[in-house]
Symmetry: D2
Subunit: 160 residues, 4 copies
């Protein structure tokens, strides 16, 4: 297998439930994105958490780290809410033998104008090319966990 994709929820996977008049985390949207793209590498998608990243606890983060460490695949993309993506990237710094790329979206993947599809293209490319390490792939840029912050007002990730 070339790539393992772990899905944790976030804006990326938010869908609308009319019966609740509300948005909720749905099934991993990365699946149709890769199908539509006609990718020709082997991958596996696993949904390990369905949370808005503001609700991800320390315990959840330990679980994510354990999940990453347990993979035999050396190339991993994690879809994740943007608000605490940096915290999860920092928690993952103990992973040293794999290429781990975190990616999210500012607009849900189901939206016509979402950044999700581009971001998945960007992140999967980075995962295939980069050597071991933990990276954040957002807004067409790659960041290390220690040098990035989300600029909530501008709606993008920036160097600190």
């Amino acid at each position: 297998m070339d790539l393992k994709i772990l899905c944790t929820g976030g804006t990326f996977d938010k869908v609308y439930y009319d019966a609740l008049s509300d948005y909720q985390i749905g099934e991993p949207q990365v699946e149709w994105i890769l199908q539509q793209a006609g990718v020709n590498f082997s991958y596996e998608i696993e949904s390990i958490l369905k949370k808005d990243s503001l609700e991800i606890t320390d315990q959840d983060r330990e679980y994510i780290v354990a999940k990453v460490k347990a993979q035999s695949c050396k190339k991993i993309v994690i879809t994740h809410g943007t608000d605490t993506m940096v915290e999860t990237a920092q928690a993952l710094k103990s992973v040293t033998d794999k290429t781990v790329v975190l990616v999210g979206a500012m607009q849900p993947a189901r939206f016509k104008d979402s950044d999700a599809t581009y971001n998945v293209g960007f992140a999967t490319s980075a995962a295939s090319v980069l050597s071991s390490g933990v990276y954040i792939a957002m807004n067409g840029q790659l960041f290390n966990a220690d040098e990035v912050k989300k600029n909530r007002d501008a709606g993008r990730f920036e160097n600190k």
Copy 2:
């Protein structure tokens, strides 16, 4: 002017605000829908309320009715949340000299798979053809205010 469109909010106009991690009623989406469709009739869009229809009060409804009565245009489409569309249609029964068509969406218009564009096509056609009266246009069907209910579980409007 051939058609006046009054927008009240609802799922139809829900957009995602990353800075709030939440969906909110945004600007009327009906505008780009009509532009994309290349319609060749004259129309005016007016946003008169921006509410989830569960939050529409009796006072709001009186305001909607007054707004409809104040129009000189005899053909009116109202975009409205689906949960209390029937109540607003009933409140509008005192309007007897205009064709009023209420329309909404089960999925926000900004979604790739939304029913909004089809519904607007259906509602504007009904408004142009039908004689005076108040109608609900949902799921490819036309209903009178007294004979329709929303089936929340099935996610559609049906005859009572």
Copy 3:
């Protein structure tokens, strides 16, 4: 059955075949449009021709008329290329016991910005409401066969 839909091809159904480096008429796109819209009426879709409307012959038109006359359903929508839609509408004037609405698209339904979905909403609404006769539903307007022409430069249908 509430509605019969006869598909004849046209821009509406054009898809891209990479292996040919060209666009061709594909399967009827009206199917996913109605599914996405969540319509709650009964319908049947039948592909009777797959042609750019510039290639539709007199014989083809006779076949379309015969097909319409053979339907037991009294409400019929025909998807059709725009360039000779008027000619086909005129050929259908001998149909007097059914409501027949011709509809097409200026941009293929598979395009992000197509007018196809709105047009199908408009046409199906017109078919359900209008009494017997042959109509063209384009650009958010309804025309009789004798009073309409396609303005190719403006990219829309207009009264003669």
Copy 4:
């Protein structure tokens, strides 16, 4: 400037002209893709050719190579038709001081289900990460010019 994007046409940029009943190469679609993605790197887009890649001549290819060599920016993405993308990549082998990534699409970017947006994400990521060389980025994979062929029947790029 972080990235220069040279557009040569191909399926990627095919749009539909109703007045011609035909698809033609339109303006570079990569522009709205990068805007929608909210990328936060600096880039410039230049349309240098508008051709189906089957029509690209040896002279055109010399022009593309000269254009690439003339850039001061060291990171270059080229959008290109898929049928002769490999030939252009081979012609570019004399470029040794820049990272050049060729990318295209099996379905026009204007299509709802196009692979274009994912591919642009993939290619721009590869351009930013990879050292000097000429690469083809298609189907979620990176290829060197000498080791790849387009499998027209399968609709994808593969190792020879």
